[in-house]
Subunit: 337 residues, 2 copies
């Protein structure tokens, strides 16, 4: 069976199944001009959206449909996590060229619905249309958060401890494997490819951080540590100091770099799409947050450095020498083609 | 100056100006991981989204940037109108190929901001990225409506009067001019091209209808009368009877059809993108609604026919003869390329 056999409305019927995961408060889901739902009046509404274009953000034949759907939702959930919020509803739009199979699309929605169910997120609508060449995906996620707990990028203060909730550089190493068609034939290479294809959204972790108190600023690492810390530093009008021997380098990334002759520090600083939370904490709460986080999730957070008043990001090596790093993250318009 | 000279973040700074039109209740606009705002707790939240792809929904060189931005927002506002809602916040995402000029993009955002200001809609976020070939636009609009007033597609009842808030077929005639590069060299051709490039969103009109009471079902005409009435009929499990001599054919469409030898009835039935509101009203309120609408807006609504229990859409000609019409509106996946 092909997409053109079932048509747009048959396709919408097909993807609508299993979308209403949390029906309370939902008055109209997929199938009208707009979705209609109640919000908790005591909470702020959050909205985030990401546009994913074939050959810019993903390679259709390199990624299975399931992973593509999973990641398209994950990157938006990650934005809600970085605000300290709870994700509530998703809207999935897709523009489909004629050579995309119905099986690929079924896998795509399966990946989305699986991650949505894990985080109790409804899929309440979207748009379905054709495309001449490239597969195009847009996902919108709404969320909520108490106004007293919301985490912004621009609230870092001098003296704050800088933490990351996960390792950095793994996704970028996975992308290297994908682009160069290097088979993930060992467990550590599989780990890196997995980090790239199915990044973990730190939603529950973001909620703990927001509810704990003492977290001043947060962002998710999408463009790369230097670039995303750059956003915090610029918007908060502060500086930062990172310690090279505290960068969270996974054993998989270290093995990868040894094998292919790369510098893991460069991967950690410039590699994007890890979707770890990067956050700054008032020093008096830093130990308590690290302890509560470990107790709750069985994982450590990584203490990378501290917020300064220097107006720049400095990297301190093992001998105490400092160099200023510039944001090397992704700029979609400045890149050379 | 070119887009690559100012970069993605320079571009975001540039487009962020003039986006916060209605600041009350907005806690975080453009510039963080997600937008954060308060909703009125007494109201339902509405969310709609449209994905627009070059060469599928628009021809980049045929449409000026201003009209493209205007229409991208208008089609989403129209969805909120068809729910009886008030539009509140917009999120604009754009994927830009390298050959798009900064001037075109400035015009695009000017068109969006101009229409947003007219309807007191904030632009609170979005996504900016590159694209390999096609310009891609995604717009999301949130709105609110009282739960007692929200208008759905599936609530039409047998005996309801069917109304349209505007003429039908004009936009499709304008598209014909655009596709065939026919110069709009007379006022009536200009009217048709304008209807296609800058459709009016019936937001204030939708609010009046929702607040009045007696309106059972509503949809906006995006795919064409037969297709969109088909959605109401199918979802409400009813039928409909349309009278051929009551179809709202503009003088401009009639002149166009005489000149080029087309049937205006076919344009009214199958032509999409008019974005008039199509709604069904309990018979006892039909005259009162038509009168209030005229008093408020100085425009008439058009009485097209009535809801039946036949399960199909019948078209009645001037001699009382009936023929069944099938939905001939747009299906993005079934179309032949």
């Amino acid at each position: 069976m092909k997409l053109k056999d079932i048509g747009e409305f048959g396709f919408i019927d097909r993807i609508s199944r299993g979308c209403l995961i949390r029906p309370a408060g939902i008055v109209k889901a997929i199938g009208d001009d707009a979705a209609a739902f109640r919000s908790d009046p005591a909470l702020l509404n959050l909205v985030t959206t990401d546009l994913l274009i074939e050959r810019v953000h993903f390679i259709r034949n390199a990624a299975d449909g399931y992973s593509l759907g999973y990641k398209a939702l994950a990157v938006n959930l990650s934005d809600i996590a970085a605000m300290g919020g709870t994700a509530r509803n998703a809207f999935v739009s897709i523009a489909v060229p004629q050579d995309v199979t119905l099986e690929f699309l079924d896998d795509f929605y399966c990946g989305i619905k699986s991650l949505a169910a894990e985080h109790e997120v409804n899929i309440l609508g979207g748009d379905t249309t054709g495309s001449s060449v490239d597969l195009v995906i847009n996902v919108v996620v709404t969320g909520t958060v108490a106004e007293s707990e919301v985490l912004f990028r621009d609230k870092a203060r001098v003296g704050d401890v800088i933490f990351s909730s996960g390792c950095l550089g793994d996704s970028s190493a996975g992308l290297h494997l994908e682009l160069n068609r290097i088979a993930a034939d060992t467990p550590y290479l599989k780990t890196l490819l997995e980090a790239h294809l199915r990044p973990k959204p730190f939603l529950r972790e973001g909620r703990l951080l927001a509810a704990h108190g003492g977290v001043h600023a947060a962002i998710d690492v999408s463009d790369g540590l230097s670039s995303d810390l750059g956003h915090i530093v610029r918007l908060s009008r502060v500086g930062a100091r990172l310690f090279i021997d505290r960068l969270p380098l996974s054993p998989a990334l270290q093995q990868f770099c040894r094998r292919f002759g790369f510098d893991p520090v460069e991967y950690a600083l410039a590699g994007g799409e890890d979707y770890a939370l990067l956050f700054t904490v008032t020093p008096s709460e830093a130990d308590a947050i690290a302890r509560d986080y470990f107790t709750t999730f069985g994982q450590s957070i990584h203490r990378l450095g501290e917020i300064t008043d220097s107006g720049k990001i400095e990297l301190i090596d093992g001998r105490g020498r400092s160099r200023v790093i510039v944001s090397t993250g992704w700029d979609h318009f400045k890149k050379e083609s």
